[in-house]
């Protein structure tokens, strides 16, 4: 027989572990009905009269449940069961990586809820409520523009997460300066210094997200070590975006990273991407001399036609 579906199904949220009873629309308790889950008939053991009983539901029991009248196969009831959990306390983080323009707050849930959640964030500065403009990407993030600088009044950010099964919230209170943390320096480059077996020249750029390095200069922290050792060496640089390492072990490959901090406030950035470099090393002399001798010998016994510019020609200093 053809099953007739004309009822709009609604969504029913239930907690994991709950006992769920579904009534077959307006059908009496003792009416003959058939229940399906995602189109598959449910056996009578789950029925109490025309009621469907689901004990201690789990996530796998989410789905579309339908009830049809016994003889006419008319759809009498349909629902989308969504099994999930209420939200746990969300993890909230606020940071200013573009001081003094503003700061952003981002959040996540420590564990999934398996059902849709909605987030609401409020930012209070003293008595003033500030707008947190949602970023398109990444999703769970919004940013606030500073209306005031150098304020001693703390910021209070409250994030509330709500879903059909419950609600939770987190509040952060912080000073303007405390959350200032630049992004790592960019374009880090390390190069050997010709004829200097113990030097490496390192240069980098201010993070592009830092809006005004001239008025709000950054200082830097450089760390470097040869790959063969675990112990880092550090140097702090209060201005400029380059440094020459002068105590490198000759011939050893080095790993180098840089971090940044506002000169006066806030905390250090994460370390930059690591770069590798090996100090300049002199060409091994004994190999060079042998090659030169062989070259000269060949030149003397070769027919004239074969001699070309720079081919073993000492005046050209050509050494290959």
């Amino acid at each position: 027989a053809q099953r007739h579906s004309q009822q709009d199904s609604h969504i029913q949220y239930e907690r994991v572990g709950a006992d769920v009873t579904m009534k077959c629309g307006s059908m009496d308790w003792d009416a003959a009905v058939t229940w399906t889950a995602n189109g598959t008939d449910i056996d009578d053991s789950h029925l109490n009269g025309s009621y469907l009983i689901l004990k201690n539901v789990d996530l796998t029991q989410s789905g579309q449940y339908s009830c049809y009248e016994g003889s006419s196969w008319h759809l009498k009831y349909q629902t989308n069961l969504r099994v999930g959990v209420p939200p746990k306390e969300p993890v909230l983080m606020c940071r200013s990586n573009n001081y003094p323009k503003g700061f952003y707050c981002s959040w996540h849930l420590p564990s999934p809820t398996y059902i849709p959640n909605s987030f609401n964030i409020s930012v209070i500065h003293g008595t003033r409520e500030m707008v947190c403009e949602k970023d398109i990407f990444p999703k769970n993030r919004c940013h606030i523009r500073y209306l005031q600088l150098f304020s001693t009044v703390k910021y209070k950010v409250t994030l509330t997460v709500t879903n059909a099964l419950g609600k939770n919230s987190t509040t952060l209170t912080f000073d303007e300066f405390a959350i200032v943390k630049p992004d790592p320096p960019e374009s880090v480059v390390a190069k050997p210094v010709p004829n200097n077996p113990r030097r490496l020249e390192v240069s980098w750029q201010n993070p592009s997200s830092w809006p005004d390095p001239e008025s709000f200069p950054l200082k830097f922290f450089l760390r470097y070590r040869p790959l063969i050792l675990d112990q880092w060496q550090h140097v702090e640089l209060s201005d400029g975006t380059s440094h020459t390492i002068t105590d490198a072990y000759a011939g050893k490959e080095y790993i180098i990273q840089v971090a940044a901090k506002d000169n006066d406030i806030g905390t250090w950035s994460d370390w930059s991407v690591a770069v590798h470099a090996t100090p300049w090393t002199e060409e091994p002399k004994h190999l060079t001399t042998e090659i030169q001798i062989i070259g000269e010998t060949l030149t003397q016994h070769k027919p004239l036609a074969l001699r070309g510019p720079g081919y073993g020609d000492p005046s050209a200093g050509g050494v290959w």
């Binding site: 600088l149 150098f150 304020s151 001693t152 009044v153 300066f177 001239e214 008025s215 209060s238 406030i265």
Partner: protein
């Protein structure tokens, strides 16, 4: 200002700005240390919130980036003159409360008071260079401190030091803005930017 004077004025301005930055940064570091001593000595909770205190210049600034150089100097000077009075009052109160028994808070307060006075004088020099001259101080006698309970006095002191710490950071930024634009520029963005070597 004669043509020959401009380079020397610019150099003097640059020197005053960079020395002012160093002084403000040192002051901030000392005020931060003083705050720790103050909180501990006065038995306060470091995280306690202090509402805006009457008579204490707030460092908070709106549209800070749009301020003119002269406005920055005038705001700074007014603030540090006020802090000079407030710190002197605090020092007086502290001596009445603790007498000579306290060998740490008093000297730390006195040292910061000295720096605040020096910085105020420094700002006056900069204003002179702006060929504007520093405004005269209002009246000879500072306003009498309000009658407060001991706890209110302590909270007020905390509020003063917190604002001063913020002002020190603001002053560093203000002086950097000033250094960018050279002497005698009332508008932002004009004048030559004199790169300032940052020294610790």
């Amino acid at each position: 200002m004669a043509a020959a004077d401009i380079p020397s004025a610019a150099l003097r301005h640059h020197d005053l700005c960079s020395r002012g930055i160093r002084l403000a940064r040192k002051m901030r570091s000392d005020v931060t240390d003083l705050l720790d001593i103050y909180v501990e000595r006065q038995g306060l909770d470091a995280s306690i919130s202090v509402a805006a205190v009457d008579g204490v210049p707030a460092a908070a600034a709106e549209r800070w980036a749009e301020q003119s150089g002269t406005q920055r100097l005038l705001d700074n000077l007014a603030a540090y003159r006020a802090f000079r009075t407030l710190l002197a009052q605090m020092l007086e109160e502290q001596r009445e409360q603790l007498g000579d028994a306290d060998a740490e808070l008093g000297p730390a307060l006195a040292a910061v008071l000295l720096q605040v006075s020096a910085f105020a004088y420094h700002l006056e020099e900069l204003l002179e260079l702006e060929s504007r001259g520093a405004p005269a101080e209002e009246g000879s006698e500072p306003p009498a401190p309000p009658r407060l309970s001991l706890f209110e006095q302590k909270l007020r002191g905390l509020g003063v030091l917190r604002e001063l710490a913020q002002w020190a950071v603001r002053s560093v930024r203000d002086l950097r803005q000033l250094a960018k634009h050279g002497p005698g520029t009332t508008l932002e963005g004009s004048g030559t930017a004199l790169g300032l070597p940052e020294s610790q």
